[in-house]
């Protein structure tokens, strides 16, 4: 073989290899682009893939799940159950910023689709927006969304690897991904105020960038998002373990700032806003959360959407979830604030070293 022949063989093999990858990815469909049925594992494992998000948006579904890592726990198939004949894609970004989620929401709406949007406290922190990793990530999502040749995203080794994992799983009838997330009824550690404080560093020592220097993005940005949404869109304030709300009231004025943002949203939108914030049967139970109460378990996602879609077959605690409106928002936020103030906070905070208990009620 001479050099010229070698190059021809190389080019031919390259072309065949690319076509093979595309064919396998299209047929196996590990990320549920054609169907979400039995694809939840892949969605659970989905860690910020701009190319896949772009592909999902270009493929045009009726609904998109937008939000932070909490949304990762939501099976799109669960919502498809309540919206027959409608396609739902999950396009969460782990650690998403408001800027990223707003960009996705705008793109989704411009395609005539609707969204179910997680209105998360720390995604609203504008002081995260200057971090290099965040800027780079935003730019990579932006450039992927502007990319016209989206079907090239089927030609992707990450997807091929997920395709093979799915095939192996089907052949061996095993679920390798189940270990990656806590099982629904398993608790690794009890949720503690101290654990949350260590996790988030809400006392603002400045080492955890997502939760330090908490300042909400400009009102105009929230108003724009709110006004662009339609009656078919849904905003959700997803639940965290109740201890978070104690610390939100104590540190950085987070509670007040977050509540102002929620009020602004509710007052300016036609979309439904569901609030799962506050002390209720779900948020005081350690067994409903992972990572010190930071992420709710997948089983809580079932309750959230059973509540939203009024599913009589699933029993949802009565105090879990409130549809907030322009009329009841003030009263609702006042109740939430009082829930924290009336909780036996002293007992909890006494577990945190060097925290003057009296300050907890300084507001």
């Amino acid at each position: 073989m001479n050099g010229k022949e070698w190059l021809k063989v190389f080019a031919t093999l390259f072309l065949l290899g690319v076509l093979f990858v595309g064919w396998v990815n299209y047929v196996v469909d590990p990320y549920g682009l054609k169907s979400n049925e039995n694809k939840f594992d892949s969605d659970l494992m989905l860690m910020n893939k701009p190319n896949l998000t772009s592909l999902k948006i270009h493929l045009i579904a009726e609904y998109y799940l937008i939000g932070t890592s909490r949304v990762m726990r939501i099976n799109p198939n669960l919502i498809e159950k309540y919206l027959p004949q409608k396609k739902v894609y999950n396009i969460n970004i782990s650690g998403a910023t408001f800027k990223e989620n707003s960009m996705l929401a705008k793109k989704v709406l411009s395609n005539g689709s609707n969204f179910i949007y997680g209105f998360d406290a720390f995604s609203l922190n504008k002081n995260r927006l200057n971090e290099k990793e965040i800027v780079d990530r935003y730019m990579s999502y932006k450039s992927e969304l502007e990319n016209k040749s989206i079907y090239g995203n089927y030609l992707n080794i990450d997807t091929l690897s997920m395709s093979f994992k799915n095939l192996v799983k089907k052949i061996l009838n095993k679920n390798y991904n189940s270990y990656s997330f806590s099982e629904n009824n398993k608790i690794h550690d009890a949720v503690t105020i101290l654990g949350i404080e260590e996790h988030l560093d809400l006392s603002n020592k400045g080492t955890k960038k997502s939760s330090s220097n908490f300042e909400i993005v400009n009102n105009n940005e929230i108003i724009n998002l709110a006004k662009n949404a339609t009656k078919k869109d849904i905003f959700i304030i997803y639940p965290k373990h109740f201890y978070h709300y104690i610390l939100f009231q104590k540190y950085q004025n987070i509670e007040t700032k977050y509540f102002n943002a929620i009020k602004l949203l509710v007052q300016n939108t036609d979309a439904k806003v569901w609030c799962f914030y506050g002390k209720n049967e779900i948020t005081v139970n350690d067994g409903n959360f992972d990572e010190n109460g930071w992420h709710f378990k997948p089983k809580i996602a079932e309750l959230i959407f059973a509540k939203i879609f009024n599913d009589p077959t699933i029993e949802v605690p009565k105090d879990f979830g409130v549809l907030v409106t322009k009329e009841n928002i003030d009263e609702h936020l006042k109740n939430l604030r009082e829930q924290v103030q009336n909780y036996d906070l002293n007992k909890s905070l006494s577990l945190v070293p060097n925290v003057p208990v009296g300050n907890a009620y300084s507001e």
């Binding site: 050099g3 070698w6 190059l7 290899g17 860690m47 190319n51 080794i157 990450d158 270990y179």
Partner: protein, 428 residues
């Protein structure tokens, strides 16, 4: 570039000694000018920070954007000036000199080349005609490099970044996975880049020098530096260690020279005390190795490899850590001070360990799924038992086997390009 061309030219002209300034003065001026530029862009904030710390002053940081690859092209041009001073270069054409400095495959992160090994190749008329064998060989090496970078290095990068930058604590296995991830990431990243540079240069019939020769097979630290970033080692040896006196001035001075050379090497990699400490550790290791060899001690090869690899792995922790606290976090995890956690996939077989305080839980702190731990086995096999790309270059044949291998690496590499990543050595 123009400045260095002019200085180099005046150094290489025979009658320079008759001019107002001696060749040595011109060389000193040239080197200081280059180092001043490097110092301004790369080290100014480091010095200001330390000055503030020591004096209690509050001088503002300059926060300059580091010009891409400044460390590389500065070293290459300093080498050119020294070679000109020694009479080893003869360059009167600025365009040729510009090509030497900016030859794109190796401009950004090396290999650091000598003027004398590049210019004859650029001048050779036979290198200006199409050579299909070299194109095939170039694609072959380039494909291997692309695969190493985007498939292997970028895979390990996720766990290294999560462990070093994101996790607050790391248990025993997470800490080892973190340090090993960076050890493999750095090797596959940098050697992958070098392979791509060598491959791309071959498309133009230009042969760049070898830069890596299976460094993790090294059985002592000196052996490691003969295999890792060979052109940097060559530079440090020729332009720092030997001018300092090398091993010509007695044993004690040799040890000092080794230590100084590697501390400078550490500082070259980055403006931070963690880099200096990394260089110091390697300098000390070379001193110990030299003393050990002088005394005639010998140990089993496998033990020598184990000690060498672990030393390198631990030293990389300081190299990678953005702050001392990150290094302490990883190292304390590696010695078990943050507990032992085993993946629940092994819980049935190892449940008796729970009574000894072992926890069974997924490695969420570094986002490492159980199945992906096989990547570490894969990486060890590749670095220890496979021929490296340069050995493959030497025995390359134009046949279906090499075409299939290259096409596989190229397909997987190209179709993995959708991730955001950058070459680690672009930062240095």
């Amino acid at each position: 570039m123009l400045f260095n061309f002019v200085v180099g030219n005046s150094l290489s002209k025979r009658d320079a000694s008759k001019k107002a300034f001696s060749k040595k003065s011109i060389l000193t001026f040239g080197i200081i000018a280059n180092l001043a530029l490097l110092g301004y862009f790369k080290y100014a904030d480091f010095f200001i920070t330390n000055f503030n710390l020591l004096s209690g002053a509050d001088a503002n940081l300059l926060k300059l954007v580091l010009p891409l690859a400044i460390s590389f092209f500065t070293f290459q041009q300093i080498a050119y000036l020294v070679d000109s001073y020694r009479g080893e270069t003869k360059e009167y054409d600025f365009l040729n000199y510009a090509l030497f400095v900016t030859f794109f495959p190796q401009l950004i992160a090396g290999p650091i080349v000598h003027h004398k090994e590049m210019m004859p190749q650029f001048a050779n008329a036979r290198n200006k005609v199409k050579n299909y064998r070299n194109i095939a060989l170039g694609l072959f090496i380039f494909s291997i490099g692309l695969f190493k970078k985007v498939v292997i290095a970028d895979t390990f990068a996720v766990w290294a970044t999560a462990g070093f930058d994101t996790a607050t604590t790391l248990n025993l296995f997470e800490a080892w996975a973190t340090s090993l991830s960076y050890t493999f990431q750095l090797y596959f990243d940098f050697s992958g880049y070098t392979d791509m540079a060598i491959g791309a240069a071959l498309l133009f019939n230009i042969k760049l020098p070898i830069n890596f020769n299976s460094p993790y097979k090294a059985t002592n630290i000196q052996d490691f530096w003969r295999r890792w970033h060979i052109t940097l080692s060559r530079f440090l040896c020729e332009y720092v260690y030997i001018p300092l006196g090398g091993n010509r001035k007695g044993e004690f001075r040799t040890y000092n020279n080794l230590l100084a050379t590697f501390i400078i090497g550490g500082l070259w990699h980055g403006a931070g005390w963690t880099f200096v400490f990394w260089g110091f550790l390697h300098g000390v290791a070379l001193v110990v190795h030299r003393a050990w060899s002088k005394l005639g001690f010998k140990i089993w090869t496998w033990l020598a490899w184990l000690i060498t690899f672990n030393f390198i792995n631990i030293a990389w922790v300081f190299f990678r850590a953005k702050e001392w606290g990150d290094a302490v976090k990883v190292l304390s995890g590696m010695v078990g001070m943050s507990g032992v956690q085993i993946h629940p996939i092994l819980q049935n077989k190892l449940s008796f360990l729970a009574t000894h305080g072992v926890i069974f839980a997924p490695y969420e702190a570094i986002q490492l799924p159980a199945l992906d731990t096989l990547w570490f086995v894969f990486a060890f096999i590749i670095v220890l038992f496979f021929k490296n790309s340069m050995q493959k270059r030497e025995v390359f044949k134009l046949d279906y086997k090499t075409a299939l291998f290259a096409a596989f690496c190229f397909v997987v590499g190209v179709l993995s390009l959708n991730k955001v990543s950058e070459f680690l050595y672009f930062n240095f």
